[in-house]
């Protein structure tokens, strides 16, 4: 028999809420939308808790639920079929005072992330931010690891171009 966590499901779920909120925030950018997404995820997770295999990490299981809801909502929205072009740099325009630079930096990476196609963004978020393995990201997105890797490398290349165009190198962001 596999080793199972003895904590009740809801206790585990409560402990994961901050991580679900971070994941959702990075996926959709907007804080209110992100919390709606977490809300939907929590409800679905509670309804499906009989499917949770306690021998496996709960975070990846919850992330898969949240990610699926996000993809289906995104498909239902009008933006579903339209990919934002990389050249669409309007969101990056506007003069900002130097003292706001720190804020600007964070807003910029968030905005740059938002400009990535969803398939690239979600893979980048899972691996670079949430530090999931390629295998976990492949399981969650339902594509082969090779596809995860090519989406990841395209995401990073797109992000680099976006940040370069804005004239803010990521190095400056992290200072």
């Amino acid at each position: 028999m596999t080793v199972m966590s003895t904590a009740p499901f809801q206790t585990l779920l409560l402990a994961e809420l901050p991580y679900l909120r971070r994941f959702a925030r990075a996926l959709c950018g907007d804080a209110a939308l992100a919390d709606d997404l977490v809300q939907d995820c929590v409800e679905r997770a509670l309804n499906k808790q009989h499917l949770y295999d306690a021998a496996r990490p709960i975070r990846a299981w919850l992330y898969a639920i949240l990610r699926n809801i996000h993809v289906s909502q995104w498909r239902k929205s009008n933006l579903g079929g339209v990919q934002k072009p990389l050249e669409d740099m309007e969101a990056f325009e506007g003069a900002v005072a130097p003292e706001q630079e720190q804020n600007l930096a964070i807003t910029t990476i968030t905005q740059a992330l938002d400009l990535l196609p969803l398939q690239q963004r979600e893979v980048l978020v899972m691996i670079a931010l949430e530090e999931l393995s390629y295998k976990e990201a492949a399981d969650i997105t339902g594509v082969p690891i090779g596809t995860v890797m090519s989406r990841l490398s395209r995401a990073r290349e797109s992000l680099r171009i976006l940040l370069d165009q804005r004239g803010i190198t990521v190095l400056r962001v992290v200072k």
Binding site: Q10, L14, P18, V125
Partner: protein, 257 residues
């Protein structure tokens, strides 16, 4: 400078993400020593990661909105049942004799669709899974086409499960008539040509039911109901083989590619 091969670029990503074993890592480190472009790529990857983490890690320290906490603490949910299914003892309690029997206390829906679900799946298994030549209208090699066709006819979105990880390959699928509505039947078989079917149909009742198991003679059905669709996996395999397959199928049906 020598242009990097695609495979080297991927290795650099995997290295920066800590996905390589010690030996592969050493190879990448050698590449890094001799190739400036490689060093630049790894540095870019790490800087982006630091920027992402700096932007989003503070979310962890925010106060979780009370509405979310309330939802997660909700009391009116059934306790997790799945871990018990891994144990024969728990399994026995779930199996009810005869397709008309129900697990006491858990079946509350008034959906005729759900009540007849195990029977419909078992009947489809008996009729179609035994036909070795003409069981399917679309073969498993046309999985995408089959998926689009079934989704279009049934009228609700789902993903055809991949059970190959558990030894069952998709033979193919076909359409069934369920009263005046179309339903889909997916047929799988293992290396020994032992088959099982998955029945899927629209759920006009829009209710939800957790997974249950029922048997009729040697035939076993695992079935569950979601707001858009009803599902049933049926075959002659014992329940301790069917349940993990049903669980895998359940997860795959919901997957968004």
């Amino acid at each position: 400078m020598m242009k990097m091969e695609l495979i080297e670029k991927w290795a650099l990503h995997a290295y920066a993400d800590g996905q390589l074993g010690p030996e592969e890592s050493r190879e990448v480190e050698q590449l890094l020593q001799r190739n400036e472009e490689a060093r630049k790529l790894v540095a870019d990857i790490r800087q982006q990661q630091a920027a992402l983490q700096q932007a989003f890690h503070p979310v962890l320290d925010e106060t979780v909105p009370p509405a979310l906490l309330r939802s997660a603490r909700r009391k009116d949910v059934a306790p997790a049942r799945w871990p018990k299914w891994a144990m024969a003892a728990g399994l026995a309690a779930l199996i009810v004799g005869g397709a008309s029997g129900w697990l006491a206390g858990t079946f509350t829906g008034g959906s005729a669709m759900a009540e007849t679900l195990p029977d419909r799946a078992l009947n489809a298994f008996n009729v179609f899974a035994t036909d070795t030549d003409h069981a399917v209208e679309f073969s498993g090699s046309d999985k995408d086409k089959l998926g689009r066709w079934l989704v279009e006819r049934i009228g609700a979105k789902f993903n055809i499960p991949d059970l190959s990880g558990k030894g069952y390959n998709l033979v193919g699928g076909r359409m069934l008539a369920e009263q005046d509505r179309p339903a889909g039947l997916l047929i799988y078989e293992d290396a020994a040509k032992t088959r099982l079917v998955i029945y899927v149909a629209a759920n006009p009742a829009k209710n939800e039911l957790p997974m249950k198991v029922t048997s009729r003679g040697k035939l076993v059905t695992c079935y569950w109901v979601e707001s858009d669709l009803v599902y049933a996996l049926a075959g002659q395999q014992p329940a301790d083989i069917m349940l993990p397959l049903a669980k895998e199928a359940h997860e795959d049906f919901d997957k968004e590619g």
